[in-house]
Amino acid sequence: MKRYDLIVVGAGPSGLSAAIEGAKRGLQVVVFDENEKPGGQLFKQIHKFFGSKEHKAKIRGFVIGEQLLKEASELGVKVVLNATVTGLYMDKELVVKIADTIYHYKGDAILIATGAAENMVTFEGWTLPGVIGAGAAQTMMNLHGVKPGNRILMLGSGNVGLVVSFQLLQCGCEVAALVDAAPRVGGYGVHAAKVARCGVPFYLSHTIVKAEGEECVTGVTIAEVDKKFQFIPGTEKHFDVDTICLAVGLSPMSQLLKIAGCEMEDNPKRGGQVPICNEYGETSIKGIFVAGDVSGVEEASSAMIEGRIAGIAAAQYLGYIGIEELEEKFEENKAALEGLRQGMFAPENRGKLIERTEEGIPVSMNLLTKGYIAEDEIERYPGVTHRAGIHPVMECSQNIPCNPCQDACPRHCIQIGSHITSLPVVDESAQCVGCGLCVAACSGQAIFLVQEDYEPGYGTVTIPYEFLPLPQKGEKGYGLDRSGQRVCEAQVMEVKTAKTFDHTNLLTIRVPVDMVGKARFYRKIF
């Protein structure tokens, strides 16, 4: 048996963050992870994160993973992969399976950061090959470089369902439809809008009747449901698909804590069976800490902060630092955590219909039911303005904790202010130079540069573009509106790629002047 000051189970965002904070304070730390690669879900998250600088906003998940790993290794944290913790026993003894051998470890402090597991729903044919979890799709395409399917139906409109749908489109799959039994889109509107403008139809208040096929999925039938989630006869719709992706929520993977004897509770607000813990993440057993999704399903951004707090608390528990340092660091991190837990998607608002923004503007109902803001709704948002010359149009319509656009503009055209969830507004006195930094910085891809007076009869729209092949300058194609419908012919005037854009290319298309407020995506003529 070998002893460590702190043993962390799970090398995801919270586990690595805790290990870093522990090691910084002199703890000897080891991290076990059952996977072949570290980083937990971060390495599958290829979109830019929300939040502010302190939450690593506008950095892609997998890059954050690389940063955390580098920092951990520089601090001497040992990360052991392919190491499955199979049990956690009295006196903080762990049993770990590494390759074909069982090892015993003792931690003076333990941090469980095992994350969450996907929930599933059942329907006729749900065991057929081709029905997969959304996590499986992400793993196949983003870790292993293999398309999970060619034509896919996504069930679930939460952030996971939306983000994975977009990722499927990015790797060249076709998404036939996005379906959710709920009456409204569950995830961020900006994530939905990205998917909708690629032409993916949304079916809210619909769910899967059956997966079709004898040996594997060849199709799927969905139908509308009533308020009690019962199918409405006659509303069936069929799609030819080879893959059905399920993104219907996550449950904390807290079994190790139960084995250890930590007091647990069934808390639907936190996603299921979670340990009862204090503000530092310490469970009912002194010296056993938790952080991240295992103690309540949230985002990776908040998991990192929880990890930091728990890592510092473990150092204090072991006597490496005093209570003053813990309290001081806790206050800082708590503020960062509270920053993330604000706005329409704050934990206390889960499942609630919010009809107005903090500014008192009506929320787009079309966004919540179809995935895009309707023509007659868009003008009401403060980021959408008309003026001479090139200028940003920010189709940001929900209060989410995110502000990279404000920092991105070198001319300070964009203002969010001190309240991180406020909708961005355009400062009319500042002059936009069309650099496009805001377009690339917006994690929600909701900022466009518009020039209504480009030449007689024509204007230009600059859109964020994260697909291959990259269109060529001069190429002709179509402008697609927010719903993904072709609305006009479009010509590519410029394709800007820069390191600071971090793979978000800026595509400037020329469209008829009456289309500058409509065209939001581009597709080549084949």
Partner: protein
């Protein structure tokens, strides 16, 4: 929280449902109908259901079906899933060959 293990609850007569043949526990191939019927036969706790039908006792140890089984049992008893005591968690958390379990202590990392 008050957990339900009340034998006074009578789930009534078993009424077949059209999707009773649907697999719930994918590993042990236990159907919704079997789980519902087990409740009517007196298995009111997740532990009893597990021992009676082997739900969640297969290779994956209930990773996928635990939540689904809980939902079905709770519905049958007319209670909230949160009122059911979840099944006991036991090591090993992942499938481990017996010969590996028996081979203790290599050189530590």
């Amino acid at each position: 929280m008050q957990h339900i293990n009340d034998r006074a609850i009578a789930p009534g007569t078993f009424i077949p449902e059209p999707d009773d043949d649907r697999i719930i526990c994918r590993c042990e191939e236990v159907t919704k109908g079997e789980i519902r019927r087990a409740v009517h036969e007196g298995m009111y706790t997740i532990t009893e259901i597990r021992r009676y039908l082997r739900t969640g006792m297969g290779l994956c140890q209930g990773q996928t079906c635990a939540r689904l089984v809980k939902g079905i049992v709770a519905k049958e008893l007319g209670i909230s899933p949160a009122e059911l005591i979840p099944a006991t968690s036991r090591a090993p958390m992942r499938p481990v060959e017996m010969k590996v379990l028996a081979k203790e202590e290599g050189r530590h990392v």
